[in-house]
């Protein structure tokens, strides 16, 4: 699964799978976490590739790699609501 960041936002991936998105003149900055208890999962070059993203998009709880159920949402839902994440392609 892939998704696209709105054109006006900057994106920076991190080697551990986390990332940052930033709006260059609004100044909003979000961390996208790939942590087991976090909000989003693995990303590379602006794409996210885990089931958790879809679960988050649909607003349902997802599972961490260890099997412990965690609440998804948070940053991701907010980013979708704000229009930062503009499309998802399964």
């Amino acid at each position: 699964m892939y998704f696209r960041i709105a054109d006006s936002w900057c994106f920076e991936p991190f080697p551990d799978g986390d990332g940052l998105v930033y709006h260059p003149f609004l100044g909003d900055l979000y961390a996208l976490s790939a942590a087991p208890c976090g909000v989003l999962h693995t990303m590379a070059n602006g794409t996210y590739t885990r089931k958790g993203v879809l679960d988050a998009l649909m607003g349902i709880p997802s599972s961490s790699p260890g099997g412990e159920r965690v609440e998804m949402g948070g940053h991701f839902d907010e980013l979708v609501r704000l229009g930062v994440i503009v499309s998802v392609d399964l």
Binding site: C10, F14, G27, L29, S33
Partner: protein, 329 residues
């Protein structure tokens, strides 16, 4: 010469000894043309008739390069007593920067802290060729540790203790990030110590040179620690940011270290930025580069010796790798 070379310390120290230094112009500050000095990467002119200011300045800045009065200066500051009847019972001093007065006057005894805060203000409000953070920066060789933290976290105390334990000071207050290379540009200045930390550092490090304490400032009692000669000698040697450490002094706490994820640490670093919104996308990419390059930790500490030992262990393996890489080349 490598722009980062710790090995160049001897050469730089030799260069420093051949330069005119502030200590050679004891009355310069009080003259009508003031004193022009270099605190790389900037040059300042300071003019003042305040003797307490001149005394503190020569205690904190004697090893800085003295420049000719005709030299180009980036920031021109003047600190003078406020005129009027009030000067007879509660003398005040005001700071002027290029003819403007950005701050309210302060009691005359606070002249040196006012100068230090004024210098910080000049840089943070103008030097947007750098991404700037409220952060101490220390290094060994060209390996830098950033300590971003709000006031009251013990950042300056830790910074002073590390410098006095052999670390190179790049800054106590301002991390300047070169937008092209991502390196930290040193801006070596006296370390601002507050309240209990003044006696703590003075007692633990008897060789530390501190200005006279100034009481009742907005930050409580303040004194400034003279930077080490080695730090000033390397004031043009950039360093690579490799560690982000968010310190928090906590009375009664054992040393506690928590590894942070890079992205969350980078967001925390961004909260300490002075000019990220000014730089927009350019600043964001530089911010992310710092975050990517660094291992990040939250550090809770009470005892300085434990904290210093932790920092030494933190950087040791990286310095070892660095030395191995250099010898391989």
């Amino acid at each position: 010469m490598s722009s980062y070379g710790w090995g160049s310390l001897f050469l730089l120290t030799s260069e420093l000894s051949s330069l005119a230094r502030v200590a050679q112009a004891p009355k310069g500050l009080l003259s009508s043309t003031g004193l022009v000095f270099s605190a790389p990467p900037f040059c300042f002119r300071v003019v003042s008739r305040s003797r307490p200011l001149a005394e503190a300045f020569f205690s904190a800045y004697p090893d800085y390069e003295l420049l000719a009065n005709s030299a180009f200066v980036d920031f021109d500051l003047e600190l003078n007593p406020v005129k009027g009847l009030r000067r007879f019972f509660r003398p005040l001093i005001s700071l002027e920067f290029d003819g403007d007065s950005p701050f309210d006057p302060l009691p005359a005894a606070q002249a040196f802290p006012l100068l230090e805060w004024g210098l910080n203000w000049c840089v943070t409000s103008s030097a947007h060729q750098y991404l700037m953070f409220h952060s101490a920066v220390l290094a060994k060789g060209d390996v830098a540790v950033l300590l971003p933290a709000p006031p009251g976290s013990g950042k300056s105390t830790l910074c002073a203790a590390l410098m006095l334990s052999g670390w190179r000071l790049l800054s106590d207050e301002l991390a300047l990030i070169d937008l092209q290379s991502g390196a930290v540009v040193p801006f070596v200045r006296p370390v601002s110590l507050k309240n209990d930390s003044i006696a703590l550092i003075g007692e633990r490090f008897p060789s530390a040179v501190l200005t006279q304490s100034v009481v009742d400032t907005v930050k409580g009692t303040v004194a400034h620690l003279r930077p080490s000669v080695a730090s000033i000698a390397c004031a043009r040697a950039k360093a690579r940011p490799r560690f982000l450490v968010f310190p928090q002094f906590s009375r009664g706490s054992p040393l506690l270290v928590e590894r942070l994820r890079s992205a969350e640490a980078t967001v925390e670093l961004a909260r300490n930025s002075f000019n990220l919104p000014v730089l927009g996308g350019l600043g964001f990419h530089a911010l992310a580069a710092v975050g990517r390059e660094c291992q990040s930790f939250a550090l809770r500490y009470e005892r300085l010796d434990q904290a210093i030992s932790w920092f030494d262990h933190l950087i040791g393996p990286v310095l070892g790798d660095h030395a191995a890489n250099k010898s391989a080349r």
